[in-house]
């Protein structure tokens, strides 16, 4: 019944509901101070993100990778093996930094042993394929072959479950023996389909996946309570979901960079058809699991559309149209896509100015923020872009100067959130704190 009501709401009303739940999360705060700190932070973020003018001051966030661990001398290996240790480190980092949104561990302190059990090949993680001091990195390869687009387009789930997953993880190889459940529609024709499940290779994969699932439960048991605890202690967690640009969905882990870029010449029509096919998939990936209380932001890391990866014309043909459809699809359900434009987006600004007004946040790294403000001002909130090398190697004064200049340049009128340029794995504590302090002291409107 509640769902029916939800579906009848306009995008505007859905957005209002989501933000209302975000502003008042309906849990017991750890203290009255934590409650008022939470509300002030959430309101500040909302004002900037939805372009509702100037808040009390410039909000400040910190897109963190392994930094909460490394600041305590913990290697990425340690925080991907010892979940309780990781949770403690992230908890402490949030209290140390006092930023306006939560530093969450879920995309950094991943469960290493689960990947180990599944013999995952597409990823190298700390201590497995990369040193214990390095974060996880992807192993690029044509995990989906050039001639397999049809399989993906016809039946994405069948393809992912029975072709792709067996390829990217040794522990899931057995699933290549399974077939689409079409045989089960007229149920009496089902015995050959059911027989496949008794295959020893399938059984072995089921056991591996079960064991990996148990490992992830242990991980979740340490991580998820932390998220709730941090909210109760005053740190808003605006993300719960992620989505992808369809071109990256295909290019990142299916075709690989080389594969997808060659497809632009060899089979452009098929590539574009696949991008369009992915659009509803990556929208519903979020909207199907969301409920009206789900936090409003959807994290969207963007990769292969950056400056240098392709020309403006190629961006406008291959990357942007399907991404814009995803953005609009998420906005229609009351979400705000948070587009993390890694690398530089200088030549893309005029194109991405087609983003729905006040309904998307663009996080920039090497993009010229002044130009970004000129082009996107009144269209999208912009976030960023304190350089990682400055935070890791620079001095406090240099960080402060950079942040002050940035605030002078792009903060007037609101619609700006001070943040690091890209995901922080290592940084000097005092530099991170300096960034936060500048927002609090110098960033007052």
């Amino acid at each position: 019944m509640a769902e029916q009501v939800w579906s009848q709401l306009s995008p505007e009303e859905k957005s209002e509901r989501r933000w209302a739940s975000f502003l008042e999360p309906g849990l017991e705060f750890a203290s009255p101070e934590a409650g008022s700190e939470y509300r002030a932070r959430a309101a500040r973020l909302k004002k900037a993100m939805l372009l509702e003018g100037e808040a009390d001051r410039v909000p400040v966030c910190a897109l963190a990778g392994y930094y909460p661990g490394t600041r305590k001398g913990l290697t990425p290996y340690q925080v991907t093996q010892d979940y309780a240790l990781a949770a403690e480190a992230w908890h402490e980092a949030n209290h140390y930094l006092q930023a306006d949104s939560m530093l969450a561990p879920v995309f950094a302190a991943i469960p290493g042993r689960a990947f180990e059990i599944l013999d995952v090949k597409i990823l190298s993680w700390p201590g497995h394929g990369v040193p214990k001091e390095s974060g996880f990195q992807y192993n690029e390869k044509e995990w989906m072959l050039a001639e397999e687009y049809d399989l993906l387009i016809d039946d994405p789930t069948d393809f992912l479950l029975h072709v792709y997953l067996p390829r990217v993880a040794g522990g899931m190889e057995g699933f290549s023996r399974l077939a689409s459940p079409l045989d089960m529609v007229e149920i009496v024709g089902g015995p050959p389909w059911m027989m496949r499940w008794a295959d020893p290779a399938v059984q072995a994969s089921i056991e591996k996946l079960t064991a990996a699932g148990r490992e992830c439960q242990a991980w979740g048991g340490a991580m998820y309570p932390l998220l709730g605890r941090l909210v109760a202690e005053g740190f808003p967690g605006p993300f719960q979901f992620m989505s992808l640009a369809p071109f990256d969905f295909i290019g990142d882990t299916l075709r690989g960079t080389r594969g997808v870029l060659m497809d632009m010449f060899r089979q452009p029509a098929v590539l574009l058809e696949a991008c369009d096919r992915i659009v509803p998939l990556v929208v519903k990936w979020v909207t199907r699991t969301a409920n009206p209380q789900s936090p409003p932001l959807v994290f969207m890391p963007l990769h292969k559309g950056a400056d240098g990866f392709m020309s403006v014309e190629q961006f406008q043909k291959f990357y942007w149209p399907s991404l814009l459809k995803v953005i609009n699809g998420l906005v229609a359900d009351g979400f705000v896509p948070y587009l993390f434009a890694e690398g530089a987006y200088g030549t893309r600004l005029e194109t991405i100015a087609e983003s729905p007004v006040g309904r998307a946040v663009w996080h920039f790294d090497h993009t010229d923020m002044q130009r970004a403000k000129e082009v996107l001002g009144g269209i999208s909130c912009i976030q960023g872009n304190v350089p990682l090398p400055l935070l890791q190697l620079g001095a406090v004064d240099e960080v402060k100067t950079y942040c002050r200049d940035l605030i002078d340049t792009v903060a007037p009128g609101g619609g700006f959130i001070l943040d690091v340029g890209a995901v922080v794995d290592e940084a000097k504590d005092e530099n991170m704190r300096a960034m936060v302090e500048v927002a609090k002291e110098y960033g007052a409107y």
Binding site: R258, M262, P389, Q392
Partner: protein, 211 residues
């Protein structure tokens, strides 16, 4: 412009490969065909430098060159590459980092600009760079890295090269990739950092005294 050069430079892969086969069938010297392919790569490099071509064209060109090479290689076995090189560059992604695309573009652009490139690959320990510098006496050592973990690997690699007594006035060191900037350059002790492949080419040319 020869039609093969044109086809390759315009990303017409099928057409280009068909032409290679036809030229061979007509009795054309395989070495000549290979030279035409190199000429096409030069054109691609120029268009990249001008800003009309980007990563997709470089990847596609590399692929066409690889395929042409596969066809021609058996026929060229006895011939050696006599082209005079401008100089030698040792290139690789440093320890702890497995990113290769940036490094590969730099390698491609250096090659089309006349350099001998010794590409060590990804996740290379300090010792591998020291060994390669010792064995090849390059004018340029180019270290690639995408992640911040690479800052320390670059620093220690340069230190090891120095300790081995290989950082003479003849060797210039450049870093590039992802987050590399002047702050990182100072930290690592490199001579320069590059924002893109063109910066690496300009740096290498200066190192060998070519304009």
């Amino acid at each position: 412009m020869h039609e093969l050069v044109q086809a390759m430079a315009d990303m017409k892969e099928e057409e280009a490969l068909k032409m290679v086969e036809e030229l061979l069938a007509q009795g054309e010297d395989p070495k000549k065909i290979l030279d035409l392919s190199s000429e096409a790569m030069q054109v691609v490099g120029e268009r990249y430098q001008e800003g009309t071509y980007f990563l997709p064209e470089l990847i596609m060109s590399g692929e066409m060159l690889r395929k042409t090479g596969e066809i021609l290689k058996p026929l060229l076995a006895s011939q050696t590459d006599e082209t005079k090189k401008l100089g030698t560059v040792v290139l690789g992604t440093v320890r702890g980092d497995i990113h290769d695309i940036g490094k590969d573009i730099v390698g491609f652009m250096l090659e089309v600009n006349g350099f001998e490139v010794i590409d060590l690959g990804i996740d290379q320990p300090e010792a591998a760079f020291v060994e390669a510098v010792k064995n090849n006496t390059p004018q340029v050592l180019a270290l690639s890295g995408f992640l911040s973990v690479a800052f320390d690997s670059m620093k220690s690699t340069i230190e090891e090269v120095e300790k081995a007594g290989l950082r003479t006035g003849e060797l210039k060191i450049i870093i590039g990739g992802g987050q590399m900037d002047d702050t990182v350059r100072k930290y690592t002790g490199a001579d320069a950092y590059g924002d893109d492949a063109m910066a690496a080419v300009a740096f290498a040319k200066e190192a060998v005294g070519v304009k």
